[in-house]
């Protein structure tokens, strides 16, 4: 723990580089990105396709490791944690929503929402109760036993958001959460994010290429060619 160095930020990225080997050469995706995120902040990473914004989100969310540079969560360097420790860490502190809902097809909406808490080993009856509360909040009470194939795009994404939040994370990462939705559903999901932030005091990091969505955020980082553009 070296919180003195991280200046009390919830999440801090320092000089992040990420490259992928492509045959004989290397593809540099992130070229020295640094950012600090305070608790309860809503941050948008805006950029076009291939700009590196999704890679940055994955690195911030400990789903991928940077080639160089460090990520600190409450001053703790994530590089020092093993893969298994990172898995537990994500389970307890972070929530994720993706462009595609990534719900497990064989599980009902309720079971999908319960997954993170079950992974943590929480008591099943408590988890089911909490998951039902989330379904109710999302207006999906009558969809509890429905399977992903029986739900609409907007409903799927709301189930995915409920799943991301059942463990009361400190920070919610969303990668193009509205990218796969029509404009009406898109708007609903956008509103939902801010409603949740208000209600839960969540820190939100959203990746999008949608300028209208980005405009709702107090802090927007434009990602271009692996760097923050002005």
């Amino acid at each position: 723990m070296d919180s003195s160095q991280s200046g009390g930020f919830l999440l801090e990225a320092r000089d992040i580089f990420k490259s992928y080997p492509t045959g004989s050469s290397e593809l540099l995706v992130l070229k020295g990105i640094s950012l600090q995120i305070q608790k309860k902040e809503a941050v948008c990473l805006l950029g076009s396709s291939g700009s590196g914004k999704s890679t940055l989100l994955q690195i911030l969310g400990t789903l991928d490791r940077p080639t160089s540079g460090d990520i600190f969560f409450r001053g703790e360097n994530m590089a020092q944690l093993s893969e298994d420790d990172l898995a537990i860490f994500r389970n307890q502190k972070m929530g994720f929503v993706f462009q595609f809902h990534h719900l497990i097809q064989e599980f009902s909406a309720l079971e999908n929402i319960m997954l993170p808490a079950l992974i943590a080993g929480d008591k099943r009856s408590d988890v089911a109760e909490k998951a039902n509360e989330w379904l109710k909040f999302m207006g999906l009470s009558d969809r509890a036993e429905h399977y992903p194939s029986q739900l609409s795009g907007g409903e799927l994404q709301r189930v995915a958001i409920a799943r991301a939040l059942i463990k009361d994370p400190e920070i919610l990462f969303a990668d193009e959460p509205t990218g796969n939705l029509d404009s009406e559903n898109s708007l609903k999901i956008q509103q939902l994010f801010f409603e949740l932030r208000q209600k839960l005091g969540l820190t939100i990091v959203v990746v999008t290429h949608d300028l209208q969505f980005a405009a709702l955020f107090p802090r927007v980082f434009k990602v271009k060619d692996g760097r923050f553009a002005q």
């Binding site: 994955q58 991928d64 307890q92 097809q105 079950l118 992974i119 943590a120």
Partner: protein, 413 residues
């Protein structure tokens, strides 16, 4: 707290393995049901093969102990008349003796309606017979009553001589005598068939006659003397120990044998054959396990997106591996259970076939009809070996799947 958490996480993994196993994309379509069926067939074949082998051994064992008790004690040399003292002595040597009786053997000739054939006349104590031998289930016709005129015969003999219940037949024995020119004279006596039995062993059915000891003693003019004693123990499986104990105490003037000694070669052959057959038939299970391995491999390849999201949500690499391995173990357990059931059906089929056609040559195997016998140890070995193999078969695909990078898996979404 930590213990509770462990158990909840364990339950979660079993639940995941179970749900993924019975998912539409796995067991209910594609090659998985075929791979599973292969496993079930392998287990069933093993169960049936083991049941038939054990059944052969058990049938032979039962025949031997039913007709000649667990241990036979025979005095070498001259016959003597000392039963009260000798029986007391045996009892003091071995307290685990449940009951015993004396017997006498005579090689004789059966003559009926112009036919003659060599037989073995076994004379036993009529009242004691039911305590030492177990012939109740072996009666095919008639009763077990023996006395000075009535005897029990094997069903092969009955068939050959066309003897029915209450038919009369002659038993002829040669007696040595210095007064005859030839050195022997013949002694004959008519007996009535009171029971026709299946003695369980082919040669016994063909030539064994069980009668009253007194009748045999009179016929052979040996007075109150006898050949030896049939000993029944409280526990059949102790026969070898007990016979060794008796042999040691009584010394070389007695020949002690138990049911195992008499057919040692056959029992040894069955024991070795059982091990060989186990491994040969187990190859089917091994092939089935390879099928399951490849099926699971394909399944895991199709599941990269799910693995990635589960890891995103906090499942560790080892958790993912354990879930897929758990799936393999579940397949093993369910396959074993289903294999047991199918194996039982195969055994039933074998019994029907055996009753319709003579599958076993009595001349070669000593018995021509066997019961199938499921031994707990066989079932346990089959179950454990199958489950362990399924565990090993799923290990490689499970490890490969668990090592998937989250970012790679999410791309496939």
């Amino acid at each position: 707290m930590s213990r509770f958490k462990l158990s909840a996480q364990f339950k979660f993994k079993v639940w995941m393995a179970y749900r993924l196993l019975f998912s539409k994309s796995f067991l209910q379509r594609g090659s998985a049901p075929l791979a599973f069926l292969g496993l079930v067939l392998g287990v069933a074949a093993l169960v049936a093969a083991m049941a038939v082998m054990s059944g052969f051994e058990e049938t032979l064992k039962s025949a031997l102990t039913d007709v000649t008790a667990h241990v036979q004690v025979v005095r070498r040399g001259k016959l003597v008349d000392d039963w009260p003292q000798f029986s007391k002595k045996l009892k003091t040597i071995e307290p685990s003796i449940e009951s015993m009786m004396r017997f006498a053997y005579a090689e004789a000739v059966l003559a009926n309606k112009g036919q003659v054939s060599g037989i073995l006349f076994q004379g036993v104590d009529g009242p004691e017979m039911k305590n030492v031998l177990r012939l109740d289930n072996r009666v095919r016709q008639g009763t077990l009553e023996i006395d000075k005129d009535r005897v029990l015969i094997g069903m092969g003999l009955a068939k050959r001589f066309q003897l029915n219940l209450n038919d009369s037949m002659y038993v002829v024995v040669p007696l040595s005598t210095p007064f005859e020119k030839s050195g022997f004279r013949r002694q004959a006596k008519p007996f009535i068939v009171s029971g026709i039995l299946d003695f369980g062993k082919n040669d016994w059915n063909e030539r064994l006659v069980i009668g009253d000891l007194k009748a045999l003693q009179d016929l052979t003019e040996i007075g109150n003397r006898y050949t030896g004693a049939f000993v029944k123990l409280k526990n059949r499986d102790q026969s070898q120990n007990v016979s060794a104990q008796i042999a040691q105490t009584l010394g070389p003037s007695f020949a002690i044998s138990d049911w195992y000694d008499v057919n040692r070669n056959l029992f040894e052959a069955v024991r070795i054959e059982r091990i060989i057959i186990f491994f040969v038939v187990f190859v089917i299970v091994v092939v089935a396990a390879f099928n399951i391995s490849s099926t699971l491999y394909v399944f895991i390849r199709q599941r990269y997106s799910d693995i990635a999201i589960l890891k995103t949500l906090g499942l560790s690499t080892s958790d993912v591996r354990n879930i897929f391995v758990g799936q393999g173990v579940l397949v093993g357990i369910i396959g074993t259970a289903a294999g047991y059931l199918l194996g039982l059906l195969l055994c039933a089929g074998f019994m029907i076939l055996q009753n319709s056609f003579s599958l076993i040559s009595g001349a070669v195997y000593k018995i021509d009809q066997i019961e199938v016998h499921l031994r707990f140890i066989d079932l346990l070995t089959i179950g454990m070996a199958t489950t362990a193999l399924c565990f090993l078969a799923t290990l490689t695909p499970a490890i490969i799947g668990s090592r998937l990078e989250v970012v790679e898996g999410l791309k496939n979404g």
